[in-house]
Symmetry: C2
């Protein structure tokens, strides 16, 4: 039986662009079910003193070039560097979490990343926020009000804590059978693991 794979991500992560934009098609092609789980990666990273790019210009320059090359591999348009870091990271993920409850979370995530990485307008802020919601047929005024409620704030904190307890410390992570796979470049590993409990091809 095929295990489903948790896709734990934070809008605000740069490499997550590569995953978000290809995961729908990838899932269909591979016949894998992914559970999209937005969380607040910044809360975990600050708590764990894990600040990968701030004040590291060489590593940051590399990161953008690496993402740009890999976007080419996936045939994804990209404008680098995208605005980073996001001012409203938490709110972008509150909207995504609300969307997961209502059924439009995946579409919102894709559109807000598209506007962020292709048009250069940061996710979680206007005009990206309203534009991405309008593109997927949602009413920005209603969503922005609902995503600001204490219930959604608490729900994101709870989901973030659950994801942290699973061993996740960055975005994107894929979680399958208690194993964490960190990074867009570990997607194939996670899928292989879900099939074989190993990274190797097991003869059938």
């Amino acid at each position: 039986m095929m295990t489903s794979v948790d896709f734990c991500y934070s809008i605000g992560s740069t490499y997550t662009y590569l995953t978000v934009m290809r995961l729908g098609e990838y899932a269909r092609r591979k016949g894998i079910q992914f559970r999209w789980r937005p969380f607040d990666v910044r809360a975990i990273m600050l708590e764990q003193n894990n600040i990968p790019f701030s004040k590291k210009p060489v590593k940051s320059t590399y990161m953008w070039r690496d993402i740009e090359r890999r976007a080419g591999l996936y045939d994804l348009p990209i404008r680098v560097p995208a605005p980073y870091p996001l001012e409203n990271l938490a709110f972008a993920n509150q909207v995504a979490l609300l969307g997961m409850k209502e059924g439009w979370g995946e579409a919102y995530t894709v559109e807000t990343y598209r506007i962020w990485f292709q048009d250069g307008l940061p996710a979680g802020s206007e005009p990206n926020l309203s534009e991405s919601l309008q593109r997927i047929g949602q009413d920005p005024a209603r969503i922005i009000e609902m995503a600001s409620t204490p219930e959604i704030v608490a729900a994101l904190a709870e989901e973030t804590e659950a994801i942290k307890q699973a061993g996740v410390f960055g975005s994107p992570c894929f979680v399958v059978d208690g194993e964490v796979f960190w990074g867009d470049d570990r997607l194939d590993d996670a899928v292989q693991w879900s099939r074989n409990g190993s990274l190797r091809n097991v003869p059938s």
Copy 2:
């Protein structure tokens, strides 16, 4: 014409185990020439305030598990966690650099990593140092004396500076046509780039 690929590495890096142990066979199979270039990654990382694992227990635990899973993929024996960080990182790379000048640097690197990651004895210190040199038919007393000279210390500093100027900030890195690829998991990307100037398969 096939470009050669620079393999810039530091004995002391954990993920570099995965590359060192498979690169010889990989190079033969793919028909690629790699230039092994040991350097002092710690000097660059300290200068750039890039300390990936110290005081980050969750990320460290993940790192060892990720390396263990990938060692399984490559059919490499491994005992994790290996002793880390190395006390004598610079000296291990001074020995490797001397070995590159004398023609036994690649073999030494493989043996010292094997003893470090399979037997749990840190590279750059005894008994790993003498044992790895003996296994490749070198006289430990002669090598240890020569690798300690100001000439070799200066040569490693010079090589580290040149590698830093190329944009390298971690180990392993592959450098080809001015492009840096960081991580054992970018080896295929670097080779693809050396062939096509792109990560995509270009129809021939």
